[in-house]
Symmetry: C2
């Protein structure tokens, strides 16, 4: 349900805000984009760490925030840990921000 269609409920506003908070850091936005745009839809941590001027623990922390927000999933395969995006969550957020047709007013 788009945010602009009707006043959002308190509970749903809280859930949505948690997801947006996970996206409120440039590093996490880039991480999500790197994972989502990776060939095959997956990426492993070592590649992600190499893309930033940050230490491993910091990237690990950001990945955890994204995971706890339900935006990405992960799985260990042998030594490496693979991450992938959860498309349904992104789509839900995208819909929340969409503008319903015919609801535009003074701009």
């Amino acid at each position: 349900m788009p945010l602009a269609a009707e006043p959002i409920g308190v509970d749903q506003a809280g859930e949505v805000a948690i997801a947006f908070k996970a996206l409120s850091d440039p590093v996490r936005v880039r991480l999500l984009s790197l994972i989502a745009s990776h060939p095959g839809g997956e990426a492993y941590v070592n590649n992600l760490i190499a893309a930033f001027d940050l230490t491993g623990p910091t990237i690990s922390h950001h990945l955890r925030v994204l995971r706890e927000a339900g935006l990405i999933g992960c799985q260990r395969r042998g030594t490496w840990v693979y991450y992938w995006v959860v498309p349904t969550m992104l789509e839900r957020l995208s819909e929340v921000l969409s503008i319903p047709a015919g609801s535009r007013a003074t701009d």
Copy 2:
């Protein structure tokens, strides 16, 4: 350009993160929804304050954050100040989160 289409640039990630940070608080999500879904697309501050268990200055602060993020605009008309949403900004964020067709992988 959707976030999942290709790795997002550092600059754009920063801009997008600022907008998402503005949406990372439940109060601001509800404020934006109240303004966007208001008949006529506008709302004035007194009504917004009445919808929360928060003081006027706190609502004023949140409105400023939304305004500085480019998500809403405002104008004084006599004694009252009216707020409205900026649809282009919401649409841009919605597009960033959208999933390009055919890019879904292991879920």
